[in-house]
Chain length 274, copies 3
């Protein structure tokens, strides 16, 4: 179920339109190519609607948002909704500034998102809870590795109901909450949090996977999280055998996405349906 | 003939001013350093003319163009023309939006380009043909590896005549069309299309090479394409011996540019003058 | 003294707010994570003050400055001053355009900087001397490896007095001029100048180190320069044993920062107090 979507992406080669931050945009472009999709980055108001109309999915990432790109996000999002293309939101840094929180909230009001992916701080902020965001990374302690705290689950479900979107919360384990299913993804490696942009990359991949499996967005989102986590595990194995550090690890993660196969996913993926 | 230009770049260390997209700008900066040039990225309207006046070449790349950077492209381009510096155009994504196509057309009307480099979709769009652009990458089938289709050649020649620029069309093989010569460059590796920014990097290198050989721009453009293709071949050899993926490949391509010598170029370059 | 600050950064995990260029921003984010800090990049006028108020340090880098980001630099800088957070200036390309030189001068007038880090061309420009900037890199000859030229020292001291900031001048050897101390840092490797962004990365690290040692900014700045230089040396050793080029070198530098320990620093750091 999860592994087939990768094949579909490689067959379809979906064009994924990203309006995203300039910090990790290159990694997003390269990881999209690595998983078999094709990236197009375009954030000018005058071309956002036209570009999204030739794309199979739209990814809106609010890192380094600004007065020029925010209107493009709305225009592209509305057009994607009209055309029935999946739209993914990455509320980078929501909770860290009122501009980011308010923009994420406004986007959620105006645009139907297929998936919203963030860390627990960001998801808490936009779900209307108390945010503890300090920038763009969530500390490990914010998402316990043991049992899921009830308040975290209830927040995620609240946001899911409010938006109708599948919610992906990433951390030591990832949670993907769909309408009927709640997936727990136990893949990945703690060192991924030491690489800038792993969250943004997963969001971009989620866009590609959703375009390949529009009839079950929760499965697509869980599959993306599992696949990327598996890539992080394989990359860590290769890294430790060679003595590399965080920058080599970044490269290896993208490498492993480019070398991923459904077979490897089937063997390594650890997704539980609660 | 082709290999000497690399030496010249390394001796001159030309400053190359790039107004380019934020997706692949870091790769452009690093590949310019790797080939012996020096990059300067500057896109504000208030400094574009001043920066270009201390540079040896100007590269205009319209990926992620926007309302703020477009006027800077025109200002810098006109100034470079006045000063007799070579100006290179990379019409990234022309055909994908009317903003990009129109901006490329306007630039070609107002500015004399030494070289225009794009994939066949982009070149088709700006030559006034039927475009099939879907984003920024050309599918392999768009440029046949066997005989050159007559309509492709005729389009390239049409654009060359219209603009007076040398036209570089990259794909499974590269075509460099100058006033008198038509070079076919049979270097490179298909995996280069799986790395974001290989086209942008070649455009940046072309700027450096043109500044080093202003008297024969077609030779400079063909040399740049051949050198970069050879780097792609060497990088692929190193990659396969180590089992890497697309991100490591990206690094190795830039590595091989930094380790390139005229001797290596002479041995490996496959350029045919039709 | 120098090595302890790294431990402090790893314990504090300071949030470092960067308003920086889009060329090397990803490297700055990754090197901050590698040294134990946490990056947040935010340049919109409407969030700059709010973001800096949750950060432990602010880094202002004027590469690819523009009409939209310049006001954010001033707002964030003033707010950081009010809150007593260290602010670091990287005057990238000062001397190459009047916009850059004037912006750096205006910033120095309005904002109290803890550290200003640049190459000798940039520092010369903003100290009011004759600049020889050609873009963003300083040629090796601009900073002699032998004895310090008296006019270089006098310029640095002049800028220190004018601004009250610690001045870090990087080159074949780095000079860190504080109120009482003048440190000469003899770490690093010439190949670092072939990687785009090594200067920007050091500036970002300097922000993290200053937040960890606010009571002695000169020691923090010298420690950052020494640590980064040591990483460059270790990276070069690993590189040559594997036959890599400049892009692999870039990765290895960040790798070595992520693997740095106070013990390694103590052994390899070469800092002299004049």
């Amino acid at each position: 179920m999860f592994a087939e979507i990768l094949n579909k992406v490689r067959l379809d080669c979906p064009l994924v339109h990203c309006i995203t931050n300039y910090v990790t945009v290159n990694d997003c472009a390269n990881v999209l190519l690595a998983c078999g999709a094709s990236p197009v980055m375009a954030d000018d108001e005058r071309e956002a609607e036209e570009i999204v109309s030739i794309a199979s999915a739209l990814v809106i990432n609010i890192g380094t948002l600004n007065s020029r790109t925010i209107p493009s996000m709305f225009k592209a999002g509305r057009r994607a909704n009209e055309l029935g293309r999946p739209v993914i939101l990455d509320p980078v840094g929501a909770g860290a500034s009122s501009l980011r929180t308010a923009t994420a909230m406004d986007l959620m009001r105006e645009i139907d998102f297929a998936v919203i992916r963030g860390n627990i701080s960001e998801i808490t902020s936009i779900a209307g809870g108390e945010s503890k965001t300090r920038g763009v990374d969530a500390s490990a302690s914010e998402l316990l590795d043991g049992d899921l705290p009830a308040d975290v689950i209830s927040l995620i479900l609240k946001l899911r109901e409010k938006t109708g979107a599948v919610i992906t919360v990433t951390g030591p384990k990832d949670i993907v909450a769909g309408e009927k299913d709640l997936y727990i993804v136990r893949n990945g490696h703690p060192m991924m949090s030491k690489v800038s942009g792993t969250g943004c990359m997963l969001t971009a991949i989620t866009g590609a996977f959703c375009s390949a499996a529009p009839s079950d967005i929760a499965v697509a989102a869980a599959s993306a999280a599992g696949m990327f986590g598996v890539a992080g595990e394989f990359a860590f194995e290769r890294l430790t055998s060679e003595g590399g550090g965080t920058s080599t690890y970044r490269s290896y993660i993208i490498d492993e996405v480019s070398k991923m196969t459904p077979e490897k996913m089937r063997e390594a993926i650890k997704i539980e349906n609660r």
